[in-house]
Symmetry: C2
Subunit: 516 residues, 2 copies
């Protein structure tokens, strides 16, 4: 090992034991080389075409399946999330790569459009052909709480590669070995498919992260993590000579409202579901409901009683790392200091060496819900705010920063209540969930995972097929000879949906099927 090199350590959150890994912090020279390799790979990865990249994504999915046992074991040692959750998460990652391969083959994500030359009310107009192209190398910041689905093997990597963008991942220091094993699985698939090596790279360490964001070869940044770090990264991006798109998913309180009708009709069901939703994965989910509005009165009382019983009987949760566990205690303490009451707290075995915290239920009222009480607390904590009338809610909602989701529990005969709550919540969230819970994000075509700042930047999704759009940019060929056009923009091409002279044209087999 050369002088000045720093080895990366890994810590088992179950025991608190730290050990030195085989990986070291990436040096400035290495960051530069990785970014340049990514840049060099850009044109070649684009030229592989949709089918070539779809095959790559399928091969990466296969590679994760092959390495499943080692990946899950490594991730469990570094995150304490347990084999069941981690196996499910890896399955989600694998599914995601395959879904994006399907989207590439289907091809309408290209938004191909042709306006033929012709006379218009504004005079003779040229031939324009538009489609989306890869934006260029993407810096992907892995998240602590999803060692697979929002890390090296995650949606950002999958969507960037689908778009045709090489990826340089910043490995999260909470799971360096999981990151390394995941990278190896991708590298293997890349090599087997004959795809340029610079398609995937990885850096370790905070300094390397900063250098990566500043590197001229990097054309977009995606980050899932804390608001404070996200804000720092955004400032770095905007200090570049060329500010580039920054896709941050930063903070989300995910308010949940239970109407009087729902509290009466589904008291036990809602209490059980809510407990599972705020404590699942140790409450370390971006869509964890952080505040729940429950009506005053006997039905609400009973709902809170059940929640409290579940909380008090609840086992301690091993959190991902020491920082998160300490921050949990700090913020929980602050919420109480600011006026929230401790309704219930589970047990922790104080003798345990790991990063264990107790599930915690706090209460307040909607009219007392100040901005101080809507600080996001990452971990198994829920603030229940009791309310008398719906009018209490409108004021309370103003105290909640915009979020990824909001949830409404209401009965069928409360249609007006539905509509009123929807109108109040819609402007500040990206998804509204009815009579269910916001955790457990479906990976599909129609999913949207985003919302106004600080949840994200409003306009893009970090989950689902549309997340690919983050890493694409429109491009137009004007009066181009057909030899220089991509196949998808030539006359007569009919394998994908396109808009031609303003009209959507479907591939013949799809158009036929809609008539059946």
């Amino acid at each position: 090992m050369n002088e000045g090199e720093k080895l990366i350590t890994t810590t088992n959150p179950l025991t608190g034991a730290t050990s030195v890994t085989e990986v070291k912090e990436t040096t400035p020279g290495e960051v530069d080389a990785l970014a340049k390799k990514a840049q060099d790979a850009t044109a070649r990865l684009a030229n592989v075409g949709r089918e070539g990249r779809a095959s790559l994504l399928d091969a990466i999915a296969d590679s994760f399946e092959t390495g499943r046992e080692l990946l899950v074991r490594t991730a469990d040692e570094e995150t304490g999330l347990g084999p069941k959750r981690l196996n499910g998460e890896l399955t989600r990652s694998v599914f995601q790569f395959r879904l994006f391969a399907e989207a590439l083959r289907e091809g309408s994500y290209l938004e191909a459009m042709i306006d033929h030359a012709g006379e218009t009310p504004l005079g003779a107009a040229p031939d324009l052909r538009r489609m989306l192209l890869p934006i260029g190398p993407v810096a992907v910041f892995g998240a602590s709480n999803f060692p697979f689905a929002f890390s090296v093997a995650g949606g950002d990597t999958a969507s960037a590669l689908a778009a045709g963008c090489p990826v340089v991942v910043k490995a999260h220091d909470s799971h360096p070995l999981t990151s390394l094993r995941s990278l190896e699985a991708i590298v293997e698939a890349v090599a087997a498919q004959g795809i340029p090596e610079g398609t995937i790279g990885m850096v370790f360490g905070q300094d390397a992260a900063g250098q990566l964001i500043e590197h001229p070869a990097i054309k977009a940044v995606s980050f899932t993590g804390s608001l404070a770090t996200g804000r720092l990264l955004l400032e770095m991006v905007n200090r570049r000579p060329d500010p580039i798109p920054f896709f941050g998913e930063l903070s989300s309180l995910n308010p949940l409202v239970v109407t009087a009708g729902a509290a009466k009709a589904r008291t036990v069901e809602i209490a059980n579901g809510l407990f599972a939703s705020f404590t699942g994965s140790g409450g370390q989910l971006c869509t964890k409901p952080g505040v729940a509005f429950v009506p005053e009165g006997p039905d609400g009382d009973q709902l809170v009683d059940i929640l409290r019983d579940l909380t008090v009987r609840g086992a301690g949760h091993v959190l991902l790392n020491q920082r998160i566990a300490e921050s949990f205690e700090t913020i929980a303490g602050r919420l109480v200091a600011k006026g929230a009451s401790v309704e219930g707290r589970g047990e922790t075995n104080e003798s345990e060496a790991g990063f264990v915290v107790a599930p915690t239920l706090l209460t307040t009222t909607a009219s007392d819900l100040s901005a101080d009480l809507t600080e996001e607390c990452f971990g198994p904590l829920l603030v229940v705010a009791r309310y008398v009338a719906t009018s209490d809610l409108h004021q309370a909602f103003q105290q909640i920063p915009p979020s990824l989701t909001a949830t409404i529990h209401a009965e069928d005969d409360e249609v007006e209540r539905f509509a009123e709550l929807f109108d109040a919540l819609e402007p500040s969230v990206g998804r509204i969930v009815y009579n269910s819970f916001p955790t457990g994000v479906r990976v599909s075509w129609a999913q949207h995972h985003g919302g106004p700042w600080p949840s994200t930047n409003s306009q893009h999704s970090s989950v689902g097929v549309t997340s690919i759009r983050r890493f694409l940019r429109p491009f137009v060929w004007q009066d181009a000879p057909s030899t220089v056009l991509p196949a998808e923009l030539r006359d007569g091409y009919s394998a994908i949906s396109r808009r031609v002279d303003g009209k959507m044209i479907m591939p013949p087999e799809m158009a036929t099927s809609t008539l059946n």
Copy 2:
């Protein structure tokens, strides 16, 4: 007039004469009131629906036609662009409003998607229904060089209103009365359609502009103007507690390349077209070619000779305002000081009082083309860079900041040259024009007007139907009762194209037409 109120002045660039107008700078209290009125109008404007907003856009187009004579006369007095250009520009604005009305009626801009509930490889999944919603009130900054098409009556206003977003325009101080007359035309249409008054507002003055950007009700900013001002506005946006999307179109050099084959085959045609393109509208177009690469040798010499003759014989151009005229002289002087040679310069009648500058042709070589020589000079100036081999070009391209467009003039038998130039230029522009000129931007479905920073932010267009996407955000209803869903997301709705369970479904009449 109250104490402290400042009246806005207007200047006729043909004479330099300044006069006081009836409008005054908007006070902080007025900015606040306008932004709040816009916020209050948001839900109501959305509820008007696609057909209601399409009718509004058509009514605005009609209103501009009704007011055409006054609008053009006012704009001519404030910009000196002349009735022919201004009539054409107003026609473009009118066309744009009508095209966006058509896009609203067609409805696929909503990107409606439905994933029905069901079993998936990841378990039981909920029902998700996604479409795009208005992002909220938009601050639109009018540009000096397009008193209609990029100002109050411009594409940003049209696309924001189409999206369902109320607009507060910052009037450009170069044409306050044109802005006021344009606003009046829109206000009239808004009132006649029974649309909320807060749908359109306007502020005057730099302080008001700053207050507008900082106002919490504003949810997106669009700006067309200088890089320096754009950078300032971006910083203000990012200092907000909630950074919001900023769509800036800032600076563009629009390189143009003439191959040896083209220089030989179309010497006169290219010289004439290039002269018209860099001097049209006084060279005050964002797509003006600012640098042209012409081969060394007799064909290139002849092309430059013709360009020089046209330039020397060219009349002076009245620029939009004193600042632009002074800046033109300053930058032209700087380019010469940095090593460009004056190849030719037209006449200006020095006795004229207005803001007149001479068309200017500078020359250098591709190998001498430093970053100093690629500073954008707004106005009728072109730098011709002579080159020997294509390899000279690659180095020279690196000196050019990313642009909206690039243009390639080449002959049919130069296919390889085409491809090589395309690959070199594509990463840093949003549109490549073949054998034509980048000015005269077609307004249509497939147009893209954008490129990497500093031309724009890469991912969005400020011209054409897709420009509406800037002011929309995705939103998902999960497991929602059909009563709370918008019509476009209910089962059985078939008036627009939608993606259902991953498959594009066309309205029956469209699907049929593709089979003919």
